[in-house]
């Protein structure tokens, strides 16, 4: 689903964060609202209402002296209750938070100290920390119904420095029940003091998701394009665990990670026994990936042996493992029970051939960009699913 749209901004230069209202509201309820008009004709009795800003797909006729963006290219995706940010300088309208979605994100910076070959969100060398922190502080204030889960992502969130701790403290007060998951390369956690400070916030429900791509340092460093990253990440994970910070490991599956996959699992089991979850994730065809596709692409059909071995290795040892971003039709049936529907609503799509599939409802689906480059194994499943979803398949049936 669409995340951004553009229009012509008037009466403001800065960023404005607010909650969309498609309905007329009394003046005392509209201080943090952005009024979305369906058409240019604006009711006279709303001219004096102190909305935070106005939005309209058409050209607003005779608008009041309020910040507004009109001539929006798209507005159908904007729903009552959505939290958006309006950029006065560019006319951009970006959806930050949609209460009806399952997956919610707090995007905290575009900067990163790694440069992973398959990054889906390529970093930018631009200092956005203050601007984004101010925006997120306001966003958190505006979330009325705390979500069950919230992912803090970037870029690399730890580059926020103290601003991250401020955001986490704010979240701890405003939505203590919300399960926070922060995606980080974990390198900053290698500083004992950093881990102590992070743990010192004492957020009751927080875990970090950290990528680890090889048990061999040089290979991990190559994939994340940063020297000594492996050493820092592994040391960081230990410091995190020492401070009782809960940890998940994320591994993206591609041609560079598949050859040592089970060895990596063994490394995790022996050296990072404390991790509470390991996510094995299909490659996303977006961001940097298309540029490095020669180095990265391996058809998921061609790594089912390795994937099954790795998953079984962990499962046998009572480690919790899941598979993300891979479609049931390319996964061996013994792996189906580990497959999770993990793709954010706005990124999820299914391919045309999926229409005839009987397993669509249980399927992890596609990133919409992955419909461009996909496994030769994509096909509609027409078998009886009952059998597949109850317990593992007997060994001799393969």
């Amino acid at each position: 689903m669409r995340l951004t749209t553009m229009g012509v901004a008037r009466n403001f230069d800065e960023s404005i964060v607010g909650i969309i209202t498609a309905e007329k509201l009394p003046p005392d309820q509209c201080m943090d609202r952005i009024r979305l008009f369906a058409s240019a004709k604006m009711a006279d009795d709303e001219r004096l209402t102190p909305y935070r800003a106005l939005l309209c797909p058409d050209e607003l006729q005779n608008p009041p002296d309020l910040p507004f963006i009109h001539r929006l290219r798209d507005s159908d995706h904007l729903k009552d209750g959505d939290i958006v940010v309006l950029e006065g300088s560019t006319g951009l309208v970006r959806s930050l938070y949609r209460p009806y979605e399952l997956h919610h994100h707090l995007f905290v910076t575009e900067r990163c100290n790694s440069n992973c070959l398959m990054c889906s969100q390529p970093p930018k060398d631009r200092d956005d920390v203050e601007v984004l922190t101010a925006r997120n502080t306001e966003l958190i204030k505006l979330i009325r119904q705390p979500p069950s889960y919230l992912t803090i992502t970037g870029g690399e969130p730890t580059l926020l420095g103290d601003n991250l701790f401020t955001l986490l403290s704010q979240l701890k007060v405003s939505m203590p029940e919300t399960e926070l998951h922060m995606l980080t390369n974990g390198r900053a956690f290698a500083w004992p003091e950093y881990s102590r400070q992070f743990a010192g916030i004492e957020h009751p429900n927080i875990s970090i998701g950290v990528p680890l791509y090889s048990d061999f340092a040089g290979s991990h460093d190559h994939i994340v394009q940063a020297r000594a990253a492996f050493d820092q990440t592994v040391a960081g994970l230990h410091q995190a665990a020492r401070n009782e910070i809960r940890v998940e490991i994320r591994v993206v599956l591609h041609k560079l990670t598949i050859p040592r996959l089970t060895k990596l699992m063994e490394y995790i089991y022996r050296n990072l026994t404390f991790v509470e979850h390991i996510a094995l994730m299909g490659l996303e065809y977006t961001g940097y990936t298309p540029r490095n596709i020669e180095q990265l692409w391996i058809d998921p059909l061609d790594y089912q042996d390795q994937l099954e071995q790795a998953v079984e290795f962990l499962a046998m040892r009572n480690m919790t493992v899941s598979i993300y971003n891979l479609q049931l039709c390319v996964l061996r049936q013994s792996l189906w029970k580990y497959s999770k529907q993990s793709i954010s609503d706005w990124k999820n799509a299914y391919s045309g051939v999926c229409d005839a599939c009987t397993a669509l409802r249980q399927c992890g689906g596609f990133f919409h960009w992955n419909t461009k480059v996909q496994s030769r194994g994509i096909h509609p499943i027409s078998e009886n699913l009952e059998k597949a979803n109850h317990g593992p398949v007997p060994l001799d049936s393969r």
């Binding site: 048990d215 061999f216 340092a217 190559h222 394009q225 040391a235 230990h238 060895k263 046998m316 060994l395």
Partner: protein
């Protein structure tokens, strides 16, 4: 700003030199087996150790990457991550932290059985003479609770402890009261042959949350041969006792242990089948302990270690076969060793630890208040050898027990890391030190590994397990892992009786 990508060589240049981290090694099934300080192992081609010593391993090879990732070598291209290795070593030894957890109370020496292998029982004694007095019980409970351990297991045994049920009824409520005052979690197990058990006794155990552990040596002919009692009905009594106990306490609160005698050696299949028939989900193919009276009767119960190994191998193969056919039963000796070999953790089983579990993880309080390093030390004392008598609850405190001569002498030989024949053994991390065994069999706590039954047994059992690991049969490994994790072969957690 556009970013550029660099090739692998920039991040993983071939190191100019590499260095060895501590490891031990042996040859096994045509390969070399290397084991590092944290008990991690790797199978490598023959000649690898020599190549490592001569720095002739290709640093671009997969083998080199494996060795590096597993903390066998390091180089100047990235950190050796020694802190991580240290953490792994610490994790392996976690079982020695926290203080003594297992406390054995010998509430009486009286017994109505007259087993050949028993070292301590007194059939003829009158009531009282060989029972624990209330004042001794009070002092022993107090010393038990002085252990820094939070989780305490109180194991009540004899003799036949049910012959002194009044002593048990005195100890249990008092131990619970003190545990509550000191903030300890207390588990209580009574080890009984169940021949004299009554429903009233079992109801008392049920109400007090007490578990029962009994002896089952195999099918009737074997059990009755090993365990003579008036009426020659030990087996029938045991089975009846097990069923009554299960009915009242619940199946998960009744365990059985077997003792291997010379008579057992030809019957391992029947023994395993007996455990399956009786619906037990674990069996411990234990070697007989060579102490006390057992030493004297060695002509009858003693046997060559080689015969035990054959017994164990055959038994394990049969247990695996039973598992493959769908009945879940774990072999405990294997489970203990595989936990050490295959997981980052050590084993809590006190007889297979280094530093030896004696005193550190188990203390025995005899009926007369004498404190021993282990059950075996107490048995040795019954033959008038008090080498491992650490003190007495009426005269000593936990502090004096641990700092006086008998304990200190024992501790000097409690670490296999520092024993000749063990210090360079590939299996050191999986094996143990046992000063009491070596003193009993060789007259010397330090011991001589070349003729040590303890050494040859564990070496060969561990070798056998590594052969199974090297075979890497998918279903066998699934079964073995299910013993380690307590999961079923297909993933759900199951309760083990």
């Amino acid at each position: 700003m556009a970013r550029v990508f660099h090739p692998l060589e920039r991040f993983a240049p071939a190191p100019t030199a590499f260095h060895l981290l501590p490891f031990r090694f042996t040859r096994l099934d045509g390969k070399e087996l290397l084991v590092n300080e944290a008990g991690e192992y790797i199978f490598v081609p023959n000649g690898t150790v020599e190549n490592l010593a001569n720095e002739q391993v290709d640093t671009n090879s997969e083998l080199y990457q494996d060795l590096r990732a597993k903390h066998f070598v390091y180089d100047d291209c990235s950190s050796p991550l020694l802190d991580i290795l240290a953490t792994k070593v610490r994790t392996k030894f976690d079982h020695i932290s926290g203080g003594t957890k297992l406390h054995i109370f010998v509430v009486t020496l009286r017994c109505e059985h007259s087993c050949d292998y028993c070292q301590v029982s007194r059939q003829t004694a009158s009531r009282g003479e060989f029972d624990m007095s209330t004042s001794t019980a009070d002092r022993a409970i107090s010393m038990m609770m002085d252990s820094p351990a939070r989780d305490i297991t109180l194991e009540i045994q004899g003799g036949e402890p049910l012959l002194a049920f009044d002593v048990i009824q005195y100890i249990i409520p008092r131990a619970k009261t003190v545990a509550l005052q000191r903030g300890k979690n207390l588990d209580i197990v009574v080890c009984s042959n169940l021949a004299c058990v009554t429903d009233d006794i079992l109801k008392y155990f049920r109400d007090e949350g007490v578990k029962v552990s009994t002896s089952l040596d195999g099918p009737a002919f074997l059990h009755n041969k090993n365990r003579p009692r008036p009426g020659h009905n030990s087996y029938e009594k045991a089975i009846e006792g097990i069923e009554r106990s299960r009915a009242i306490l619940g199946i998960e609160n009744v365990a059985a242990l077997m003792t291997t005698t010379a008579a057992s050696l030809d019957h391992v299949i029947e023994i395993v089948d007996e455990y399956v028939r009786r619906e037990f989900h674990s069996i411990f193919l234990r070697p007989i302990s060579p102490y006390g009276f057992a030493l004297k009767t060695r002509h009858r119960t003693g046997y060559e270690m080689g015969r035990f190994l054959e017994f164990y191998r055959k038994g394990l193969a049969h247990v695996l076969k039973v598992n493959r056919s769908g009945y879940r039963i774990a072999e405990v000796y294997t489970q203990i060793l595989l936990t050490k070999i295959l997981t980052p953790h050590g084993s809590r089983y006190v007889d297979m630890q280094s530093p030896a579990g004696e005193a550190w993880n188990v203390l025995v309080y005899n009926y007369d208040g004498d404190v021993y390093a282990s059950d075996e030390s107490r048995m040795l004392a019954e033959t008038n050898d008090r080498t491992f008598r650490l003190g007495n609850v009426h005269k000593d405190t936990r502090r004096t027990i641990f700092t006086h001569e008998p304990a200190l002498r024992m501790f000097q030989t409690s670490c296999n890391q520092a024993l000749a024949g063990c210090s360079d053994c590939a299996f050191q991390s999986y094996c143990a030190a046992d000063p009491v065994y070596h003193y009993a069999t060789q007259g010397d706590m330090y011991g001589y590994r070349a003729t040590s039954g303890f050494c040859s047994r564990n070496m060969q059992v561990i070798r056998h397990l590594f052969s199974i690991i090297a075979e890497d049969d998918r279903e066998t490994m699934r079964i073995l892992w299910s013993w380690i994790t307590g999961q079923s072969v297909h993933g759900e957690v199951v309760e083990c009786a």
